[in-house]
């Protein structure tokens, strides 16, 4: 067999009877390259049209591609596919972080999970060995606490953990899957799909190397591309400094107050260049990604990881919260409980507008007074 960068195996884990079977990735790579292609092919083959997304046999698939874990820039993404909780059609989302390369080094290109555990469990994959552990102790914890607990319990700080928060456990439609505290696979209600299987988390560690079929040629291409990305042109400098936040600063175009307006008058108050300079002190990039989409911020609530562009769109413009500390806190809160920030802010913005138009009353909000720009109200709603 020639060397290539696939890990070589796909694991199928049935949580109903704790049985695990394996297949070779080779079987699928003739048809698809990897990642989302194989994920959706597996979903198509193992799911049935009559299955509800939260049906016990409806699968959820975690996949990496042939470039994952190599030197290719931005190759740290994990693709996750399952039936879409919103539309009942296909659903997929992807997230960054260090999880995907670790999964591949642990020996699996894809991991498919189906069935439903009787009690909460978490899966541990270490160097090709798959174990299913009880997760009664961590059921109900936030994603941050879960990650900490699993690392502490296994006495291994090198474990990479993917988990759901209380939102996923309670099968909220906007529940997402969180990796490394703030990398979210947010779309399609994947967190709820995991929650419906009583699966709290997956922890991986892999020490096997990823091989390349033609290392020298690969390295030459890598050097060329990497030099272009990290060159010191004006554009790359802005991208490196602001990450995806630069899209927010370039125009004032934003969905204001539940899309009632499309121009944010006060956008200069929350200019990313300004608040990153004032409060940000460290950029964050993930596996082989030289762009710092997020930053650590010193806020009045402590040191927190900041939002990406959509975080600003969601909380600043859609809900008109102009205090950047509050925005960062709300973003972190959503990550903790495992909620998709787009979903959360849309629902809250919709409810505020509905209240304004008289469709909802204070009674519907448990006595809270909904208003634009009130971060306490938003926090209570979350």
């Amino acid at each position: 067999m020639t060397k290539n960068s696939y890990a070589g195996k796909i694991a199928f884990i049935n949580l109903s009877n704790n049985k695990i079977k394996f297949e070779l990735t080779e079987k699928y790579t003739r048809k698809f390259i990897g990642g989302r292609g194989i994920n959706l092919w597996l979903l198509y083959n193992y799911s049935k049209i009559e299955y509800h997304p939260l049906h016990r046999n409806s699968p959820i698939i975690f996949g990496t591609g042939p470039l994952t874990g190599t030197l290719a820039p931005g190759s740290g993404r994990l693709d996750i596919a399952a039936k879409n909780y919103y539309t009942k059609g296909i659903g997929y989302s992807n997230a960054c972080g260090y999880f995907a390369p670790e999964l591949k080094r642990a020996g699996f290109d894809h991991v498919m999970i189906y069935g439903k555990a009787e009690k909460p469990v978490y899966i541990k994959i270490i160097n090709g060995l798959i174990e299913i552990h009880p997760a009664d102790d961590i059921w109900g914890l936030t994603t941050w606490e879960t990650e900490k607990y699993i690392k502490h319990e296994n006495k291994d700080p090198y474990l990479q953990v993917l988990s759901i928060g209380p939102a996923g456990e309670r099968l909220v439609k906007g529940a997402c899957i969180i990796i490394n505290r703030d990398c979210a696979a947010g779309h399609c209600g994947l967190g709820a799909v995991m929650g419906s299987k009583n699966l709290k988390a997956i922890a991986v560690k892999g020490e096997n190397p990823i091989e390349l079929s033609n290392p020298d040629k690969f390295y030459r291409y890598f050097e060329e591309i990497w030099a272009k990305i990290t060159s010191k042109s004006k554009v790359t400098n802005v991208i490196k400094k602001l990450g995806s936040l630069m899209y927010f600063s370039s125009t004032a175009e934003a969905p204001v107050r539940n899309n009632q307006d499309a121009y944010l008058n006060q956008f200069k108050v929350v200019l990313p260049q300004k608040f990153i300079k004032e409060k940000g002190f460290m950029g964050i990039g993930y596996y082989m990604c030289p762009i710092s989409c997020r930053h650590y911020f010193k806020t009045k609530y402590g040191i927190l990881k900041g939002p990406k562009t959509n975080g600003l769109h969601d909380f600043v413009s859609r809900l008109e919260i102009y205090d950047i500390d509050d925005v960062i806190k709300l973003n972190a809160l959503c990550n903790k409980v495992g909620l998709d920030i787009d979903f959360t802010s849309n629902v809250i913005a919709w409810s505020i507008e509905a209240y304004e138009k008289g469709l909802l009353t204070v009674k519907d909000f448990d006595g809270l007074k909904p208003e634009w720009g009130n971060s306490d109200f938003v926090e209570r709603m979350i």
């Binding site: 030197l71 091989e211 964050i284 990604c289 030289p290 650590y296």
Partner: protein
């Protein structure tokens, strides 16, 4: 687990933790330099991020430890790869 730095021969890799993004490009090119394969556990450097305190630490393996290869100061390469590859110039020699 502490790295033995008694063999210090004047080549110490340092990190500017505020600049480092944690992209691990340095770690991966190092493992590629040693083995032509990709595995952070083969690398002579290790970047550890602590999310609680928002800090980044560098561990420089000057002698072989577990699976980590000892740093050979990029012998056979034109430059010191990890320093050269860093997008934010966070690594430097002291």
């Amino acid at each position: 687990m502490a790295t033995n730095i008694s063999t210090n021969d004047g080549f110490t890799l340092k990190i500017n933790p505020v600049e480092c993004l944690g992209c691990l490009a340095c770690v991966m090119v190092c493992s590629f330099h040693h083995t032509k394969m990709l595995n952070p556990y083969y690398s002579s450097i290790e970047i550890l991020r602590d999310d609680d305190n928002a800090t980044i630490r560098l561990k420089h393996y000057k002698v072989k430890e577990n699976m980590h290869y000892a740093c050979d100061r990029c012998q056979g390469e034109k430059r010191v790869l990890c320093i050269d590859i860093c997008p934010t110039e966070a690594l430097y020699i002291k």
